[in-house]
């Protein structure tokens, strides 16, 4: 009965175009759908605790094309998470999207939530891929929601093209696995990968890694995520922080035995570390609220990648859950600011003196979580993240903790640093999701105690490096306060600006454009050849036309010409014949 979990959102998708806005509001349909999914997930989770159920459906007869769902602790916990965050974001959307095209927005959101829930519940690579692709398409549609904006539609296209590189890689991986093992079932695949030759294993592992990197916006694909901020903020909160981008991590977690066997885990750690530093520096250099959050999301995803690379899948999942809660909350705060203040630039926001508004407490919880400070859930998540680290990884992570604290509190102090009596409107639909999410970000640490029973591979430890990271984070906060909190940021900023933005953001984008134009040039060569080919055939057609129109002149009904022609022909035949005789 696991399909019942995803059915409500599919129903919403169907009902919104039919009933939406005419009979009941689309937002209500979508919210009821997400609420039912959430309640069902919780129900299944409780009744199914510790058990694992698998439900299969045969898709194409005559072959074992099994589409199967799996309900166990991990998948159902994630389905609770996805449906909960979705519910929060949908409620918030009532506030944020009140002036927009309701039916289209909620239909697209329903499509996304449906496919995301399906993705976490999948037990076969085929079903996983099906939902994985639909997730990508709904992300494309939602990023380009404001279609009149050139930048939004360009960002949507960029996101889908870049993530589709990963989609095709995953598609290829699934095909290779099926042809070799004759199964789509994930457990069966993982239990028999030992029989595969090493080069196939490495190929499949690399393809899966590419898929994860593109979906989770890691180097070299990361540029689509900051651009995706062109979409409505609730979309960023749900898709581009909490759920969709985490799908890549989830894929790696699910496929971790294969990645281990193919020996790719050092590669994952290296890419993760590199992306984390890159994203942290870029976050430090941007002034656009949502874009900074986007870079911080890239960094957090890198943390999860590193955890997977150090064979600590439990830690990656726990961080994924905690991250989803506080990051979507931060995005919702950005949404409130965009809606009520109408600004996204952090220096412009500073001038609005937001230091005493109701957003201050949730925002401080959010940014402290981002920095991994105790007693928030994120602190425990960091502790579980670093379980499998070796010395070098630990040392690098201490640096990252400093940088993360620095850029998150830079944002916090700049935006909320100036206090005055500015007030922001607070409506239930905007405030309740933010408060609820921040509540869970605070008390979520308790989940860590519970998680050990939930997921066998989960562990956390507090060691010397946890302390070091903590000290580094506090140092980051203090530094941020010293530089940005006191309003002296302009002069000092130049000192710490590493100009990486100019090294990486623009040139790298430029590099991608170069790759794109290489393809265009290649296309032009093909096109020129095609023109030549076509011209040659055109000549052929023209000469056929010419021949027919000329020969038509011969048959013109003029008797004299006919008689003359017959005579000439006769003479010719006689001459030829006499030559033979």
């Amino acid at each position: 009965m696991l399909y019942l979990l995803i059915l409500p959102m599919l129903l919403s998708l169907v009902l919104i175009p039919i009933l939406g806005e005419r009979i009941i509001r689309s937002s209500l349909i979508a919210i009821i759908g997400a609420l039912s999914s959430f309640l069902l997930s919780v129900f299944y989770f409780w009744t199914n605790l510790g058990n694992s159920t698998i439900e299969s459906y045969n898709w194409i007869s005559g072959s074992n094309f099994m589409l199967s769902f799996r309900g166990d602790n991990l998948t159902l916990a994630l389905s609770i998470l996805v449906s909960f965050v979705s519910l929060m974001v949908l409620v918030f959307s009532v506030f944020y999207m009140r002036k927009e095209d309701q039916a289209r927005y909620y239909a697209e959101m329903s499509l996304f939530i449906f496919s995301m829930l399906g993705l976490v519940l999948s037990n076969s690579t085929l079903l996983f891929y099906i939902f994985w692709e639909i997730v990508g398409v709904s992300s494309y549609l939602l990023i380009g929601f404001w279609y009149k904006k050139e930048s939004a539609s360009a960002a949507g296209k960029k996101a889908l093209v870049l993530t589709r590189i990963g989609d095709m890689a995953l598609f290829a991986a699934i095909i290779i696995l099926f042809v070799n093992l004759n199964t789509f079932s994930i457990p069966n695949t993982l239990s028999s990968i030992g029989f595969l030759p090493v080069q196939t294993l490495v190929l499949v592992g690399a393809l899966i890694l590419i898929a994860a990197l593109s979906k989770s916006a890691q180097f070299p694909f990361y540029t689509w995520l900051p651009d995706a901020m062109e979409g409505p903020t609730p979309v960023s909160a749900l898709l581009h922080s909490a759920t969709m981008v985490a799908a890549g991590v989830y894929l790696l977690v699910v496929m971790s035995p294969l990645l281990l066997l193919s020996g790719l885990d050092p590669v994952i750690v290296t890419i993760g570390m590199f992306t984390a530093f890159l994203a942290a520096f870029l976050a430090l250099n941007h002034t656009h609220f949502k874009r900074i959050l986007a870079y911080s999301t890239i960094e957090s995803l890198s943390f999860m990648f590193i955890a997977v690379g150090t064979l600590n899948t439990g830690g990656a999942i726990f961080y994924l859950v905690v991250h989803a809660l506080f990051k979507s909350m931060l995005f919702l705060i950005a949404g409130v600011l965009a809606m009520l203040v109408g600004l996204q630039d952090i220096h412009a926001l500073r001038l609005k003196k937001l230091g005493k508004t109701w957003l201050l407490i949730p925002a401080s919880i959010g940014f402290a979580s981002l920095a991994g400070l105790p007693p928030f859930a994120s602190f425990f998540a960091h502790a579980s993240l670093t379980v499998g680290f070796n010395m070098i990884e630990n040392i690098l992570f201490v640096f990252l903790a400093f940088l993360t604290a620095l850029f998150s509190f830079r944002l916090f102090f700049i935006v909320f640093g100036k206090r005055s009596s500015t007030r922001l409107e607070r409506s239930p639909v905007s405030a309740i999701p933010i408060y609820l999410l921040s509540l869970f970000s605070v008390v979520g640490g308790v989940m860590a105690l519970y998680f050990t029973n939930l997921i066998p591979s989960f562990a956390y430890s507090f060691d010397l490096f946890t302390l070091c990271s903590f000290v580094a984070a506090v140092l980051g906060v203090v530094t941020a306060f010293e530089i940005f909190g006191k309003g002296r940021y302009d002069g000092l900023l130049i000192g710490i600006k590493l100009r990486l933005k100019f090294l990486f953001d623009h040139p790298y984008d430029g590099f991608l454009t170069q790759v794109g134009s290489l393809f265009i040039r290649l296309g032009a060569i093909f096109a020129r050849f095609e023109d030549m080919l076509s011209a040659f055939y055109d000549k052929l057609a023209d000469s056929a036309l010419l021949l027919s129109s000329n020969s038509r002149r011969v048959q013109n009904g003029d008797t004299q010409t006919y008689v003359a022609a017959i005579l000439v022909g006769l003479v010719a035949i006689l001459i030829v014949a006499s030559a033979f005789i």
């Binding site: 898709w59 692709e133 093209v161 290779i176 393809f519 055939y537 057609a541 036309l545």
Partner: protein, 471 residues
Amino acid sequence: MIQLLGFLILPAIGVIALAVKRLCSSIMSDEKIVFGVILATAFLFFTGLFLGFAGISINLVSSIDFAFTLETNGLSIPFMLLAVVLPALGLWSAHHEIKKNTNLFYIFYLLSYMSLIMIFISANLISFFIFWEVVLISFFFIIAFWGDEKIRKRASMKFLIFTQFGSLMLLGAFILMFLYTGSFDINVISNLASTIPSPIADVIFLFVLITAIVKMPIFPLHSWLPDAHVSAPTSGSVLLAGVLLKLGGYALLLFGVLLFPSITSLFQKPLIILGVFTAIYATFVASTQNDFKRLIAYSSIFYMALVFVGLASMSYFGESGAVLLMVSHGFIVGMLFVLAGILKKKTGTRDLNKLGGLMARMPVYTLFLTIAIIATLGVPGLSNFPAELLVFLGAYGAYTLSLVSLVGVLIATNYYLGALKRILFSSLGKTLSKVTDISMSDAIQLSLFTIPIIVLGIAPNLLMGAFNLLI
């Protein structure tokens, strides 16, 4: 049981009625006759799906089986679905587009409709070839008389030269088959195919292969297709891309791959390489196109190249996937051509550079165009996905390199999304402020295209169960 002869008689009645109407005016309009006939034929087909079909054989020359034989084989049902349903949907567009000599147009349209169905149920080379030729000739006239003013002469000539060349090759193959098996009956030939001596079998296979390369079309004999599409009226394009191109795949499967498996396996790798190259080539050329219809035409070469790869893989997955892809692509590309036709009608241009922001003016059109393009990109839930999945499963099993054509899917993603953006998104083009959304009738037509795309995407089993390969 439904008599297969009905598929000949019903359209033939229509043709005769139209021809008689030329002489004396009648109460019925041309369109009513054509629609009536096609609806009746479609009804016959769908009842036949439940009741089964009865074959017939009329011997024309007593000493040999020079006969007119109709019979369903393991492949007939999916192709009949295309041949029966698609022209009906395409005809919807003819109403606005065909202004002169409508009567004659409908005669040719019905003639090709009838012949296309006949080809898929002919069990004898004679009837197969006769109808094969009738399709080509009537389609030549459709392009030559009702095509785009500027290029129709050359385009129709190109079409004729290429496809007649293909037919000639097929005729050569048929004659050789007859000479070495003593029969025109396809069932007899398929039983005796293995007895044909080796060099002759190779020649037959080569002839069939060339026919398929022309008809599908595959590089380097594809050049007639874009011109024919750009020139043809919308209803013609639907027929051309939806059904006519599939004749090549059908012939290759029936007379090539299934008849001569050992020769196919000998040439398997070169054939797959040719298919993969065509796929990549077509997508690259497509991405440089600015005319939306020409873009669709090149991209349909891409999908037919995937069909070619699937057929060449000689596996159950590859071949059934190729058949499924032909059906699925028929509906999707037909829908795209109808959408391109509406675009031209509403805005007066198909040039992507002159369009933009139409979503603000045409929300319903936007919905259908988005569905069609997402479907063509092979997104799960829509019919291209199971087909591509099967094709790639088969092809990878046959030859690792075939996965390279996934690059083509990526490039297709890029140019199709680019086209979507250039037509629908960003700011509204200056001249487009008075464009109106599609009419109810257009919306119904497009919905009818959408239904099989979604149904086959969710439950490909419906079609997979309906056919079994002859192996």
